[in-house]
């Protein structure tokens, strides 16, 4: 029996023109793991909030939600509090008390649990979640990942039947996010707790989901097993394809292309240009294959396709079979392909150039002084504290898109802050565009030279509307009112926030906030743009847009230094990648060499194709090698 039955739910916010939820029906069977996905703003949060009366927003509702066979409204507040566990997105603001132990006990205190039971439950949860070591800590001392784990444990202490999670990993780094999702899975598998999770990190949740429900504009567009949904998405060329696990994406592109008669079909050949070089793989790939023939009717149903792989392991099995059955003449992509502006091999064979220029030549600018030149930079936050930077040497040529990868606490953000002059290294030298950082005057430095986009874009917005916020950046400049408007229009267009200018920055979605913050930063007209994890918490579609925007900037000669955990994004779009470890830059290489050297810290496509292909680091690499 379904634990939750959502029956023809329609909901409108007061004053809204169209409903946020439209005639939505969904069953969540007891003990299942259900993933809710969809682009930001499609109504995921609104739907989830209808599953607990105290969180349900005000507005006009039609249809009903049944919990355990009863209308939710008839289930008492006490029962709902205990049986329906809710974890929200913001790890910080969800925490109520100041101590870990108190937070764990908070829900039980509210339920009026007696001290003995409470002690046992809290002890149990602390042990199960492995948080007994920080049981007595202040919550302020925890990392974001630990905070979110604490929120989960605090909810689990009440022993709920169902866990509802609203994008719980949006503000976590990838490692913490994986840990968190692994814990959620463990709860589902070991305790049988039903899980209903809205998540955009589909690679992590797809393989384990029983049901995936895709939401579009307030309705469930597709609901089914992960494979079904994956296939349906690829058939319909939904932009959400970009969020699917890489093995599934590669499989879909390769297997379906085959059915469509690749590469003999002239229209099929025409496609490869876009799909190999284009910035938005999912989109262009699928748009491309759409034109190739009647998709959705034949290929998936006719039994010629293997089972779709959801994990890297499955992907390897499939790729092994694929390679065994064929004589593939080229098994490697030349290491230096790309950054010299050369054609990618598979494309080259078919006589096509790397048209979109995913990686641009930078050699032409070799005589210019480097945009960033750090030599043996040492830094620590206090005299007694350990060194954070231990001899960082880094050189970024002008016009390059450089990414700085590395684990937590390796000093990535510190490097950026040293470059803005906010932190002063105690040894070593830092130069920007050929002159020493200390010789730059502050007003020169931040007008037209350096600007940094912080990790939390919201820290930049200080007014009620985006327009005012952008205007704030021009307050010191000697410009007439018209010029100001012009500048704002210009940058808004570049960052695609023109339609959002009158909105409150806090009301924008994660991806919109990121672009709006970027617009604000760009008003200083920086030659060197520093980005601190800009892809955190934004969905795959926004990521592609961001990449596009960054590309436009580097085309205009802006140098970009980006700190990131996002291996996939860096592999795909960066000119060069550097690894920061233990306070120093360990290696700097073009992404292809950088990632194909690594065996763990690399992209899913690379892990999947290792041993079959060499130097294949992106989906397109693998697809092109498969389909040569």
């Amino acid at each position: 029996m379904a634990l939750f039955s959502i029956e023809n739910l329609t909901f409108s916010y007061p004053g809204a023109a169209k409903p946020a939820l439209k005639d939505l029906s969904l069953d969540i069977p007891a003990g299942s793991y259900v993933v809710l996905c969809g682009r930001s703003g499609c109504g995921k949060t609104t739907l989830l909030r209808h599953l607990k009366s105290v969180l349900t927003p005000h507005g006009s509702t039609d249809g009903r939600v049944l919990f355990d066979g009863r209308p939710l409204g008839e289930v008492g507040a006490r029962e709902q509090a205990a049986r329906i566990g809710f974890v929200l997105q913001n790890p910080d603001a969800q925490i109520v008390t100041d101590k870990v132990w108190h937070e764990l006990a908070f829900g039980l205190e509210n339920l009026g649990c007696d001290p003995e039971t409470m002690r046992l439950r809290v002890a149990e949860m602390a042990s199960y979640f492995g948080i007994q070591h920080w049981f007595h800590r202040d919550v302020a001392q925890l990392s974001g990942g630990q905070k979110q784990l604490l929120n989960l444990a605090a909810v689990m202490a009440m022993q709920p039947d169902v866990l509802v999670l609203d994008e719980p990993t949006a503000q976590l780094d990838p490692i913490a996010a994986s840990d968190f999702l692994a814990t959620v899975l463990k709860i589902n598998r070991e305790l049988g707790t039903t899980v209903f999770i809205a998540e955009h990190r589909l690679e992590e949740v797809f393989p384990h989901a029983d049901v995936v429900a895709l939401m579009e504009e307030g309705a469930i567009a597709i609901a089914g097993s992960p494979r079904e949904v994956g296939e349906r998405l690829q058939e319909s060329h939904d932009p959400m394809v970009a969020a699917l696990p890489a093995p599934l994406r590669i499989w879909g592109a390769v297997e379906r292309r085959l059915v469509e008669g690749w590469p003999g079909d002239p229209s099929g050949v025409g496609l490869s240009d876009e799909s190999l070089g284009g910035g938005l793989s999912g989109e262009s790939l699928d748009a491309a294959s759409a034109s190739a023939g009647p998709v959705g009717v034949g290929p998936l149903g006719d039994g010629r396709l293997s089972t779709a792989p959801l994990t890297v392991r499955g992907g390897r099995t499939w790729l092994g079979d694929w390679c065994r059955g064929r004589q593939l003449p080229v098994r490697a992509i030349p290491e230096m392909a790309g950054e010299t502006g050369a054609m990618r091999p598979a494309a080259a064979e078919m006589g096509q150039s790397n048209a979109a220029g995913v990686i641009r030549p930078v050699a032409a600018k070799a005589n210019h002084p480097a945009a960033v030149e750090m030599k043996e930079v040492w830094f620590r936050y206090g005299r007694e504290l350990p060194d954070v930077l231990r001899g960082v040497t880094l050189s970024v040529p002008e016009g390059q898109f450089r990414v700085l990868l590395g684990g937590n606490g390796t000093g990535k953000s510190t490097v950026l802050r040293v470059l803005t002059g906010a932190l002063k290294p105690y040894r070593g030298s830092v130069s920007l565009f050929g002159s020493k950082l200390k010789n730059w005057r502050d007003d020169e430095l931040f007008r037209g030279c350096v600007a940094m986009l912080p990790q939390d874009p919201l820290s930049l917005f200080v007014t009620d509307s985006l327009k005012d916020d952008l205007a704030e950046m021009l307050s010191g400049a000697k410009l007439g009112p018209e010029q100001r408007c012009e500048r704002i229009e210009e940058v808004a267009q570049l960052c695609e926030v023109t339609g959002l200018l009158d909105d409150h920055p806090f009301d924008l979605s994660g991806g919109e906030q990121q672009r709006a913050a970027l617009a604000k930063v760009l008003l200083t007209e920086p030659r060197l743009l520093l980005l601190d994890e800009p892809t955190k918490g934004i969905d795959a579609v926004f990521k592609a847009q961001l990449a596009e925007l960054l590309r436009r900037l580097t085309d205009n000669g802006v140098t970009i230094l980006m700190v990131s955990h996002d291996v996939e994004f860096c592999a795909r779009y960066a000119d060069e990648a550097s690894l920061l470890f233990d306070g120093a830059v360990v290696s700097s290489n073009p992404p292809r060499r950088f990632f194909s050297q690594n065996s763990f810290y690399t992209t899913a496509a690379n892990r999947m194709s290792r041993g079959f292909f060499e130097n294949a680091i992106t989906d397109q690499d693998v697809i092109s090698l498969c389909l040569q």
């Binding site: 509210n110 802050r417 906010a422 600007a451 986009l453 704030e472």
Partner: protein, 294 residues
């Protein structure tokens, strides 16, 4: 880490309440010195090396406050020197200044240790049962201040990255910058308060019959120590109320004739302020002793 911390909050709270109140009430130089010494020792034990900074500041405050008093109060017979148009600087006034300065410094130092040991959770544990929702509010407020401070820090860092640090430039732009910061902080605080409220309601806050998680147990050793503290405090209080510790400063300093009660109170006060130190030493000895046997 002082082992005094490991006692039940009631015991530690009573200790601080007692020494702070007594520290303010005693105006006897001997008692002041004892209080000052105890407070300084405790402060150093709880704050470690970091504590030296506050202690240094307090030493300066002590000197300044002591020297200031004779400037305002020329009473007293023993003139040390005169200044200005024949205004005397007297020994009695100086000593009185030192006693009041010691009182001030003592209280500050006790509070510094109090803050380190009586964490928010202990306070709410003690007073929570009288008013459960009040205690929760207190916990949340205690958490808000450092949270806001951290957020402000991160906003300032973010703005420094686009050249709007507000640390430089003309006054008008700095003021504008400060205003912008505060408005952002307010918006942010409001947004996160909404989430917190959701999180609380979602976990059943507001249901009838809220209970409190008891993180502390009152054991025999807590009982014994509490009894000792009460006894010592009572002795001091009796001495205070009967005037056994009274001192006359003007025109000449007179400690009166020390009675048995006076000595008893002094001994009690010394024992009381040194309780945490005693306990630490005792545990230290125990530890050494038990280690040597392992």
């Amino acid at each position: 880490m002082s082992s005094f911390e490991s006692f039940h909050p009631l015991v530690t709270f009573f200790f601080f309440a007692s020494v702070i109140v007594l520290g303010v009430c005693f105006l006897n130089p001997l008692f002041s010195a004892v209080g000052l010494l105890g407070a300084a020792l405790m402060h150093l034990r709880t704050r470690g090396k970091e504590g030296l900074r506050l202690l240094g500041g307090m030493a300066i405050a002590f000197v300044v406050l002591s020297l200031l008093n004779p400037l305002f109060n020329p009473a007293g017979d023993t003139v040390l020197f005169t200044y200005g148009p024949n205004r005397p600087f007297t020994l009695q006034s100086l000593v009185f200044g030192m006693v009041t300065a010691a009182m001030f410094v003592t209280v500050i130092l006790w509070f510094s240790s109090f803050n380190a040991i009586m964490t928010g959770e202990k306070i709410t544990y003690l007073f929570g049962r009288m008013a459960p929702s009040l205690s929760l509010t207190l916990t949340m407020v205690l958490r808000l201040v450092p949270t806001y401070r951290r957020k402000l820090r991160s906003i300032m860092d973010a703005r420094a990255g686009i050249g709007k640090s507000g640390a430089t430039g003309p006054l008008t732009s700095r003021v504008r910058n400060g205003g912008a910061l505060l408005s952002l902080l307010a918006t942010w605080a409001f947004e996160s308060a909404l989430v917190t409220a959701d999180s609380m309601r979602s976990r059943g806050f507001g249901l009838a019959g809220r209970t409190c998680f008891a993180a502390y147990r009152f054991t025999l050793r807590d009982g014994v120590l509490l009894a000792i503290e009460m006894l010592l405090t009572a002795l001091c209080a009796v001495a205070l109320m009967t005037g056994a510790t009274a001192v006359e400063y003007f025109p000449v300093i007179s400690l009166g004739c020390p009675t048995v009660l006076f000595w008893l109170a002094l001994l009690s006060y010394v024992s009381l302020v040194l309780i945490p130190t005693f306990i630490d030493c005792w545990e230290h000895i125990l530890w050494r002793f038990s280690l040597s046997r392992i």
